[in-house]
């Protein structure tokens, strides 16, 4: 039987839901989390695990930088090995327009205290020796050595375990079917295993957040998009940083285990809940990888898979309350970068719920922005 009553109910057991559960539990909140499958079964367990602070908007840079500070101490804080590794991120520029934008990004990032610099084309191989700079047409890059990656499944489990230690109740294989609202206030959450009375619901259902919001009559602008990714056999360690190109819509890195993991965003991908793997992807990704690192031609691909990006019109997340229903808190719409900002986002959402105010401003990320037309698009994304 599930718990009859809770102060807060979280829908979704990905990185966002589990990190919020932890941040609430350590603040003494009585919290319940429902995940319809296993933990990290959604986008989180399928994601690249990349952690990047090189963004184009101040708010994303700050969220990512604060998250990195948390990631740096997270293994100790949660007492779990999450394969966190600061190998840096190399962001490639292929056009003069990109060079101009990247230099602007670097100056904003540096102003906010990030250790990042612009590299000329002939400096790129100092960072990643095997990259064929000429063949890929890179004319510059930006480089931040404190960016990195972690294992998304293990990070989620680490947060969930620590949350439970602090009293959170996490129910996997339990699906939220409805949310009862009376006079604009939340009364209870209905699942396939029973009901839990609560006044506050956090909507952290990733690409399915739109469906959860519909249960209480709130319309979210989020759209799901399939995003594909693959892994090679393990190689000896040759690649320290994550390499990423917005121009080619591609990124890849090497895991602690030695596999090269990389994804390519198909610009023609229609919005859908499809997460089947395609042959088209494996061909495109292989062409890119063998052009980027010619040595990879002989490396075996062992598996490919796909997950859903939860995309908002401006590629920025939706955080905080909504006007129509009291106690209905959004923590979704993370597009292709929810893993890396989750530690700080979770802290802010917990602060909002417990103290009613946050240590970094998040009003600009409220759902209201779409209704009021205050939209600044994040430029540095693999779409």
């Amino acid at each position: 039987m599930i718990k009859e009553k809770a102060e807060v109910v979280i829908v979704g057991g990905g990185i966002v839901g589990c990190s919020i559960a932890y941040n609430l539990a350590i603040r003494g909140v009585d919290v319940v989390l429902f995940e319809r499958s296993y933990l990290a079964s959604g986008a989180t367990g399928r994601c690249g695990g990349g952690i990047r602070q090189q963004w184009s908007t101040e708010e994303n840079i700050r969220l990512a930088m604060e998250s990195v500070k948390i990631f740096e101490g997270l293994e100790e804080e949660l007492d779990y090995h999450i394969e966190y590794y600061q190998g840096g991120y190399l962001v490639l520029a292929h056009t003069e327009d990109e060079v101009k934008q990247f230099k602007k990004n670097v100056s904003l990032q540096r102003k906010l205290g990030l250790n990042v610099r612009f590299l000329e084309a002939d400096e790129i191989n100092d960072i990643v020796p095997h990259l064929d700079v000429e063949a890929i047409g890179a004319i510059g890059a930006t480089w931040c050595p404190t960016d990195g990656h972690a294992n998304p499944f293990k990070t989620t489990i680490a947060y969930a375990r620590a949350a439970e230690k602090h009293g959170a109740h996490i129910y996997k294989f339990t699906e939220v079917k409805g949310i009862k609202v009376e006079k604009g206030e939340i009364k209870e959450v209905i699942t396939d295993k029973g009901k839990t009375k609560t006044k506050i619901v956090v909507n952290a259902a990733g690409a399915y957040s739109r469906e959860i919001a519909k249960m209480v009559g709130v319309e979210l602008p989020n759209k799901p998009y399939r995003h594909e990714i693959l892994a090679t056999e393990p190689l000896k360690h040759v690649l320290d940083p994550m390499v990423i190109s917005f121009h080619d819509n591609v990124y890849f890195r090497q895991t602690e285990h030695g596999e090269v993991v990389g994804g390519w965003g198909d610009p023609n991908e229609p919005s859908s809940y499809n997460i089947e793997s395609s042959f088209h992807f494996i061909v495109q990704m292989s062409r890119l990888l063998s052009r980027y690192v010619p040595k990879f031609r002989h490396v075996n691909i062992v598996r490919q898979w796909a997950g859903l990006y939860d995309v908002t019109p401006d590629a920025r997340p939706i955080l905080g309350p909504v006007e129509e229903v009291e106690g209905f808190i959004q923590a979704n719409g993370f597009s292709g970068h929810g893993f890396m900002v989750a530690p700080m986002v979770a802290k802010l959402i917990a602060e909002l719920i417990v103290e009613g105010k946050t240590s970094l401003p998040i009003e600009s990320l409220n759902l209201k922005r779409f209704r009021e037309g205050r939209v600044i698009k994040e430029a540095s994304v693999v779409g």
């Binding site: 933990l39 079964s41 056999e233 061909v283 292989s286 062409r287 990879f296 002989h298 062992v302 598996r303």
Partner: protein
């Protein structure tokens, strides 16, 4: 038990019977979760050798019928194949 401890269930990733039972007792109760926490099923054989065994171990631990334990999705490609092959390169010989 002494002997079972050393039984290797996943040869590719060198995972023992005992490690799998421990993971199940820690709450990783599906083949999907075991795969992600222990890496068994992620080796070159992609779980062809070990996943059925893991399904049976879970069934035994949870007192269920193996048929009730859902197996992870088989992920393409069916056999590990070189990047150059998918990229459509003619000469796929290994350089020395």
């Amino acid at each position: 038990m002494e002997k079972k401890d050393k039984i290797i269930v996943c040869r590719c990733e060198d995972i023992t019977y005992d490690e799998i039972v421990q993971a199940i007792r820690e709450g990783f109760t599906t083949p999907d979760e075991i795969k992600r926490v222990l890496r068994c099923g992620m080796g070159p054989c992609q779980g062809r050798t070990c996943m059925r065994l893991i399904q049976r171990i879970i069934a035994k631990e949870l007192n269920k019928n193996p048929a009730e334990i859902k197996m992870p999705k088989v992920r393409p490609p069916l056999r590990p194949s070189p990047i150059g092959l998918f990229a459509g390169e003619k000469n796929d010989k290994r350089e020395s």
